[in-house]
Amino acid sequence: MYARAAGYHAAVREGESRPAAAVVLASGAGVRVGGERNKVYLPLGGRSVAAWSLRTLATVPGIGPLVLVARPQDKDLVAAMLAGELPGYQVEVVPGGVARQDSELMALRHLAPRIATGAIDVVLMHDAARPLVTPELAAAVLAAAREYGGAVPGVPRDGLTMVSEDGSTAEADLGTMMAMQTPQGFLAGPLLDSYERAATDGFTGTDTASCVTRYTGTPVRCIPGDEQNIKITYPHDLVIAAKFLSAASQPSG
C-alpha cells in the first residue's frame, strides 16, 4: 500500500483527453468511532485517515481535480493535514453540508463550470472513511463509469435478514447481497443534473447511485469491490486498517 501510493504519482494524465474529478467526502461526523474529533482526521499508519485516499486517488491515471468536502468546523484539521501530509497535492477544499447528499451537491456545484465545458467527464465520489481504496479499484470504477454511465464497487455479504418495522422480528432471509463501497463513479453531467433536481424536490437518497437512478433512469453497474476497502466505523476498524496497511507494506505481501 505504501509502495503503491508513492509509486506512480507523476505518471498521470498523458493521453487522457478529459480528466475525471475525484471528490473525497469528509463531512460526516463519525460519531460511532467516538471522541470529539471527526474520525477521518484520526491517525492511521502515520497520517490522517482522509489523507490516505486523497493520496491514492491522485495517483490514478485519468483523475485530475481532487476535491475534499469538509465541515467548516474542521478547517484547522484540514489545513494541518494538507500542509503536513499532502504537500504538493492540489486539493480543492469545499465546505460540506449537514447530510451526505448536501455535501455531494456542494462538490458538484463547485465543479459545475468544468462539467459544463466538458473539462470534466466523470466524477468519483469517495467516502474519506475508506482509507484503503487502491488505485486499481478507483481506476476500475472510472473505466466502468465511462462505459456504463455509473459504476459502484460491491462485495458479497450473506446472513442478511429483513426485519419488521420495530426491528424485533426477522421477516426474510435475503440470501446474498452486495455491500456497496466507494468510490462510486458517474458521468458528470447527469450526476450534477440529478443532484440539482433532488435538491429541488427535497429527495434524499441512501447513496450516490440511488439519486442518479431515480433521476436519470439509468441503472448503475456493480463491479467487484475489495474486501480490504473497509469503512472506518468502529474504533477497532482503525486497528484493522493499520494491520492491512502494514501487511501490504511488507515485501512478501
Binding site: 459502484v152 460491491g154 455479504r157 450473506d158 446472513g159 442478511l160 435478514t161 429483513m162 426485519v163 418495522e165 426491528g167 424485533s168 422480528t169 426477522a170 421477516e171 426474510a172 432471509d173 435475503l174 447481497m177 452486495m178 455491500a179 456497496m180 463501497q181 441512501t206 447513496d207 447511485a209 440511488s210 437512478t213 441503472p219 448503475v220 453497474r221 456493480c222 469503512k231 466505523t233 468502529y234 474504533p235 477497532h236 486497528v239 484493522i240 494491520k243 492491512f244 501487511a247
Partner: protein, 227 residues
C-alpha cells in the same frame, strides 16, 4: 425448560499457511474453541453442552465432565443435524453456536435465553453498516432500506421441536442451500416468528490470522467495546 448449548466445531480446516485446525489455534492463551465452551459452560440457564466436533477436533474435548461430544460430518448442516438428533428429548430449548465466533459474551447468551422464555426462535443480530443492494444482470436492482436490514450472527436459540422440524424439511428439499439455522426456520417454517436480540460486533467469525489478531485486541480491550 431444559436447555442444551450446541457448539458447532465441524470445521477442522487450518487457516492458509497454518498446520493445525483453526479452531484449536490460540486466542488469548487458549484454543479458539475453548472460548465458546467456557462461555456457555459459565452461563446460568444452560444445562448441558454438546460439541459437534470433527474427528480431528473431538480429541480436544472428549472425556470432560459436563460436555458431550458428537462426531460430525464435514458440513455445517450435517453437524447441526446430527447434534439435534443426539439431543434425544424433544422438549426443551437448544442454543446453536458456531465455534468460529469465539467472543460470545455472557450478555449475548443471556439475551438468547431470555428471548426463548417467550419466543420459539431467536437470533443474535446487528445492524448492517453498509448500504446493501441486490444485483440483476450486473446492475443494481433493489435497495432495501438499511433500517430494515440486520446481519445474523450466532448464538441462535430454538425450541428443539421447531429447529428439528426445520432440518427435516431442509434435508428433504433438493434445492436446499446450506445456511444458518435461523434461515432454515425463515424458509421452511414461515409461521414461526424469529425474534431478534442484540448481537455484538465482537461476534464476527474468524476466517484469517488477521481476524485472530483482531479478536486478541478485542479481548484486551474487553468491556470498553461493550460485548
Amino acid at each position: 425448560m431444559h436447555t442444551v448449548a450446541v457448539i458447532l466445531a465441524w470445521d477442522a480446516a487450518p487457516l492458509p499457511g497454518c498446520a493445525e485446525p483453526k479452531l484449536v489455534m490460540p486466542l488469548g492463551g487458549r484454543p479458539i474453541l475453548e472460548h465458546s465452551i467456557a462461555a456457555f459452560g459459565d452461563a446460568p440457564g444452560v444445562d448441558e453442552i454438546l460439541v459437534a466436533a470433527a474427528p480431528e477436533l473431538a480429541g480436544h474435548v472428549a472425556g470432560r465432565a459436563g460436555i458431550r461430544v458428537v462426531e460430525t460430518g464435514a458440513t455445517r448442516t450435517e453437524a447441526a443435524r446430527r447434534a439435534l438428533l443426539a439431543l434425544g428429548e424433544p422438549d426443551g430449548n437448544v442454543l446453536i453456536h458456531d465455534a468460529n465466533r469465539p467472543l460470545v459474551s455472557a450478555r449475548v447468551i443471556g439475551e438468547c435465553l431470555t428471548a426463548l422464555e417467550v419466543h420459539e426462535a431467536a437470533c443474535a443480530a446487528v445492524p448492517a453498516s453498509d448500504t446493501m443492494v441486490t444485483i440483476k444482470d450486473l446492475y443494481i436492482d433493489e435497495r432495501p432500506s438499511r433500517d430494515r436490514l440486520r446481519r445474523r450472527q450466532s448464538p441462535q436459540g430454538f425450541r428443539r421441536r421447531v429447529i428439528r422440524r426445520g432440518y427435516e424439511l431442509a434435508v428433504a428439499d433438493p434445492d436446499f442451500k446450506p445456511s444458518d439455522d435461523c434461515a432454515i426456520v425463515l424458509r421452511y417454517l414461515p409461521e414461526i416468528p424469529v425474534h431478534l436480540f442484540r448481537g455484538s460486533e465482537q461476534l464476527f467469525p474468524i476466517t484469517s490470522r488477521l481476524d485472530i489478531e483482531i479478536a486478541e485486541m478485542m479481548l484486551a480491550e474487553g468491556p470498553r467495546l461493550s460485548a
